[in-house]
């Protein structure tokens, strides 16, 4: 390995295991990239260089002593600042947690450490995951490495940007309404979200619990599949984590040999002539991807999910409702920012007023309202009914199809400050948030470019626990794309 390629976790791991390169060297290379590029990109809130080098040394010692190594040996990773990391600040990109250091690791962080990965730092994001452009961070916006005047997407914008900029090959993000798939699409990366309950949420600072998933970015499908295989397992610390085994998807990717009659349904409402707002170039790439899949042996047809129209409205009731409760604990009493107040109630009010940003406050207000007595039935209960209806539509669709297909984002990366109206930003989640409402697994794979030569992402959605076939489609798209 003459030059360290920070784009491939598989290559790094193989080279470290074989002794071709040391984990310390790889980590130093990663830290050097961050040093060189991140002043501008702003993808990391915290770079934990010393801890990373110590972790890398431990990996090298294992190599030297001939110990068995994990699948991510010496691979530097970025961890979204929404995951708890023992001894490393976890801010959620919020002033209210600016200096909080958790006493424990999230399950997904434990998983990567147990796989001998090296955590180089905590990545920037929209505050508590609330946003789609990474402009809602207390520590400044993240820039898209492909065009630094543009957003990387959000909320896991930092995790996307650090991979896209070649600082690390893998990063952990969270996907509550598209927060990994959308930035993956805008930054030209592969980003998956697992089935709700396939990956433990323990240690992920909760935003909207019934939608929250732990997810990851990579530059290629194989690294993505390896990440899923690492993260997807039962966990007694998360009551919503599904017990039992999961499908192994790395084998599926490795042994890919065409789609062999797989039934792919293109979601009509998201294909240009249903819901508005999709850029024509995005639709053009969707059509190209359909041809590519058909060419790979898939049977492709259209499918209609009329419930999608109302999905955004329901999502933006339920999501803030859960958030308003989840974020109550940030009260200045036990941890985080405390602003002085004459009594306890005033202290809590002052701390929350000073600590939360605009978008977070907006969602707390909306969510509190939606749950209030007298409004609960009109908003929360009604939105739950829409959610149930949408789930049924997906279930029905999977009677005829194995995988559903859509663009990930209606638009390519847009200029920083280009969309200021929150409603317009919410509407960009139209293809992604319904998937979280139904708890389904989905993956965004880069496929061609759209306006300004910026990448377009195609989303494959599978039924619950159907990650294997989802990765099959992802691999097909990647193969056609790479020609």
């Amino acid at each position: 390995m003459s030059e360290i390629n920070l784009n491939s976790a598989a290559q790094i791991s193989a080279a470290v295991k074989s002794g071709e390169v040391s984990a310390v060297k790889v980590t130093e290379a990663s830290l050097a990239q961050i040093e060189a590029k991140d002043t501008e990109i702003n993808s990391f809130n915290t770079v934990s260089g010393e801890i990373a080098l110590a972790q890398a040394e431990a990996v090298d010692q294992k190599v030297a002593s001939g110990e068995e190594l994990g699948p991510f040996a010496g691979v530097p990773i970025g961890v979204k600042d929404l995951f708890c990391t023992e001894g490393i600040k976890t801010t959620c990109s919020s002033k209210i947690l600016e200096n909080w250091v958790p006493p424990y690791n999230a399950t997904c962080v434990e998983d990567f450490l147990a796989a001998d990965a090296v955590i180089v730092g905590k990545t920037n994001c929209d505050e508590f995951g609330m946003g789609g452009s990474n402009e809602n961070s207390a520590f400044g916006p993240v820039k898209n490495p492909l065009d630094t005047t543009r957003v990387p997407g959000g909320s896991s914008g930092g995790s996307a940007a650090c991979v896209a900029a070649g600082m690390v090959p893998i990063s952990l993000g969270t996907d509550t309404g598209g927060s990994v798939r959308q930035p993956a699409s805008l930054c030209g990366l592969v980003g998956f979200k697992p089935t709700y309950g396939a990956v433990s949420r323990y240690g992920m600072v909760a935003f909207a619990s019934s939608f929250d998933t732990v997810a990851a970015f990579s530059t290629n499908v194989a690294d993505s599949a390896a990440s899923f295989d690492l993260l997807a397992h039962a966990d007694g610390r998360d009551a919503t984590c599904i017990p039992g085994d999961r499908e192994t998807v790395s084998d599926v990717v490795e042994n890919y040999d065409g789609l062999d009659g797989l039934r792919v349904g293109v979601i009509k409402e998201l294909a240009g002539d249903g819901i508005e707002g999709f850029e024509p170039e995005v639709i053009e790439q969707l059509n190209n991807s359909v041809n590519a899949l058909a060419d790979s042996g898939a049977k492709v047809d259209e499918v209609s999910l009329p419930g999608l129209e109302a999905a955004i409205s329901a999502y933006y009731i339920l999501n803030p409702a859960e958030a308003s409760s989840n974020l109550a604990r940030f009260d200045g009493v036990r941890f985080g920012l405390r602003e002085p107040g004459g009594n306890t109630a005033e202290m809590i009010r002052a701390s929350r007023t000073a600590g939360f940003g605009e978008e977070v406050k907006r969602r707390i207000m909306v969510g509190t309202y939606a749950l209030s007595s007298g409004y609960y039935d009109a908003y929360y209960a009604k939105a739950q009914k829409l959610r149930a209806l949408l789930i049924k539509e997906f279930t029905d669709a999977y009677k005829d199809f194995d995988v559903l297909l859509s663009p990930t984002s209606p638009v390519v990366a847009f200029p920083i400050g280009g969309i200021v109206d929150p409603m317009s930003l919410y509407l960009l989640d139209i293809a992604t948030c319904p998937v979280n409402m139904a708890g389904l697994p989905a993956i965004s794979v880069p496929f061609g470019t759209g306006a300004h030569g910026l990448p377009v992402g195609i989303q494959a959605i599978a039924p619950a626990m159907g990650e294997a076939r989802m990765y099959k489609v992802a691999k097909a798209l990647e193969e056609k794309q790479n020609g």
Binding site: P102, A206, R237, A239, A321, S325, R329, F335
Partner: protein, 485 residues
């Protein structure tokens, strides 16, 4: 209303024409090893903030996982209270308070675990149980400053050892009509919770806490008027006092043509009065909604039946058993309250005279160590007594020492020199006394009206001479035989 209306002397607490309507909400801490949703230890006492874990401290990123043992104990409570056990959903009750780390409490709202049960009191009154649901306890605040209240405290200290301790909240229907019934309900509920191992029921340690819903109405009416929820009632005695105070306050208001506000009030033990808390108008909106971090509990029929079959015999059934053996109602209550029913049953089973067994259990076994008494030794004692080796008085003395030391009755009796007195020895002792007291003896024989008093005189003299070893009954018999002869 309960099935059995009983005469209640305490009704006279209110002016004529009024009756009390009382419902109770009892919170009991469940006797589990760990907390409701957290691996931290569930233990009373301990240095502040030592029985804690990231989960019960509500640290960001932590998630609750329900404690199966707590669910099992709660199902036990439901079954012991004759409830239907059903699929239940965890809900969040949202409000800000520093001793509640997440600023919401995980509870059960519209789908509780246990519904529609009943509790029969020893007096026969049947009190309906509306629901018995599970929730987590809060931490404990100490407000340091002039008033001891949060609003104007100089500062507050919070101990999270209690945070997340599993609770069951048992809500009765408003079926009680006197402070006595309310106290009886609390005592009966407590004895059930202890008997089934669900809770230690210690009110003094706060592991059982009572809120009382009190209203009044004209006697015989069906209506439910505005009620007040009285909080901070921390002893059995305060339960009675608080209810009495509050009911009288309501009657006074009605008689002055005013209407009590429906509100939460706090019992001030020192001043013996309740004080207004939040009224309904400015009550918190708890914004209950299903907790997305937890899955509903769906107890299977098999699991419920397994728990039911392992339930111990309940206090009411034990009382019934004691009554069948011949105990009076009050004796049966005392015996069961003291946990002596097993000893009683075993001793009778081993051939001890049931009347003596019940008499001792009622009168001579009040000591709290009495429940550790060995039934076999207890049987030996009663056999010695009924066999004439010990008098009733001696038996009582020996029994007290058995409870204290665990020694066997023969040794204790020997140590005290409680030898069996031969009746011929006794007769000669009596003859001697008669010979020394001829006037008294004459009067005993001739004056029936003086006989009772003189009988006491002669028995006393015999006891004195025998250092209490004589059996009074035998002395009486001898006196009678001699005077007749």
């Amino acid at each position: 209303m309960g099935d059995t209306k009983q005469k209640d002397t305490t009704k006279s607490l209110l002016p004529d024409g009024w009756e009390m309507v009382i419902g109770l909400e009892v919170h009991a801490e469940l006797a589990t090893e760990s907390k409701m949703f957290s691996p931290a230890r569930n233990e009373f006492g301990g240095e502040p903030n030592t029985n804690v874990h990231p989960v019960c401290l509500g640290l960001p990123g932590t998630l609750p996982v329900a404690n199966k043992k707590a669910v099992e104990l709660s199902i036990r409570v439901g079954l012991a209270l004759d409830c239907s056990v059903q699929r239940c959903v965890w809900s969040r009750k949202n409000y800000f308070y520093p001793d509640m780390p997440k600023d919401y409490q995980i509870s059960q709202y519209d789908k509780p675990l246990n519904i529609d049960g009943k509790l029969e009191l020893s007096s026969g009154l049947v009190v309906g149980i509306e629901r018995a649901h599970m929730e987590e306890d809060t931490g404990k605040s100490t407000h340091v400053g002039a008033s001891g209240r949060i609003h104007d405290a100089g500062y507050s200290l919070v101990d999270y050892n209690r945070s997340g301790v599993p609770l069951i909240e048992i809500v009765s229907r408003p079926d009680m009509s006197s402070p006595e019934q309310a106290k009886e309900y609390v005592e009966e509920l407590r004895s059930i919770l202890v008997a089934i191992g669900a809770s230690d029921g210690k009110m003094e340690e706060g592991s059982m806490r009572v809120d009382a819903n009190v209203s009044v109405r004209p006697v015989g009416a069906d209506e439910l008027r505005n009620r007040c929820e009285i909080k901070n009632v921390n002893s059995l005695r305060s339960v009675g006092r608080a209810i009495e105070y509050e009911a009288k306050r309501h009657v006074e208001l009605y008689e002055a043509n005013k209407v009590p506000r429906q509100e939460t009030r706090h019992w001030d033990e020192a001043e013996g009065r309740t004080r207004a808390g939040r009224s309904k108008e400015d009550a918190e909106d708890y914004r209950y909604f299903p907790d997305p971090d937890l899955v509903p509990i769906e107890p299977s029929v098999e699991w419920i039946e397994e728990i039911r079959s392992a339930l111990p015999v309940l206090p009411s059934q034990l009382r019934k058993r004691m009554s069948e053996l011949g105990a009076s109602t009050s004796a049966a209550n005392l015996i069961v309250q003291r946990g002596l029913e097993a000893i009683v049953l075993e001793a009778i089973d081993m051939g001890a005279d049931s009347k003596r067994v019940l008499t001792h259990a009622e009168n001579n076994l009040a000591d709290e160590n009495a429940k550790n008494l060995d039934a076999g030794l207890f049987t030996d004692l009663i056999k010695m007594e009924t066999g004439g080796e010990l008098t009733a008085t001696q038996a009582k003395t020996v029994l007290a020492e058995m409870v204290e030391t665990g020694n066997n009755p023969a040794d204790i009796a020997a140590k005290h020199g409680f030898e069996a007195m031969d009746s011929s020895d006794l007769e000669s002792t009596l003859d001697e006394i008669i010979a020394n007291s001829p006037d008294e003896w004459q009067r005993y024989c001739d004056e029936p009206e003086a006989r009772g008093k003189l009988q006491g005189f002669f028995v006393g003299q015999v006891m004195k001479a025998t250092k209490g070893q004589a059996d009074g009954k035998v002395v009486n018999q001898l006196l009678q035989t001699k005077s007749a002869g």
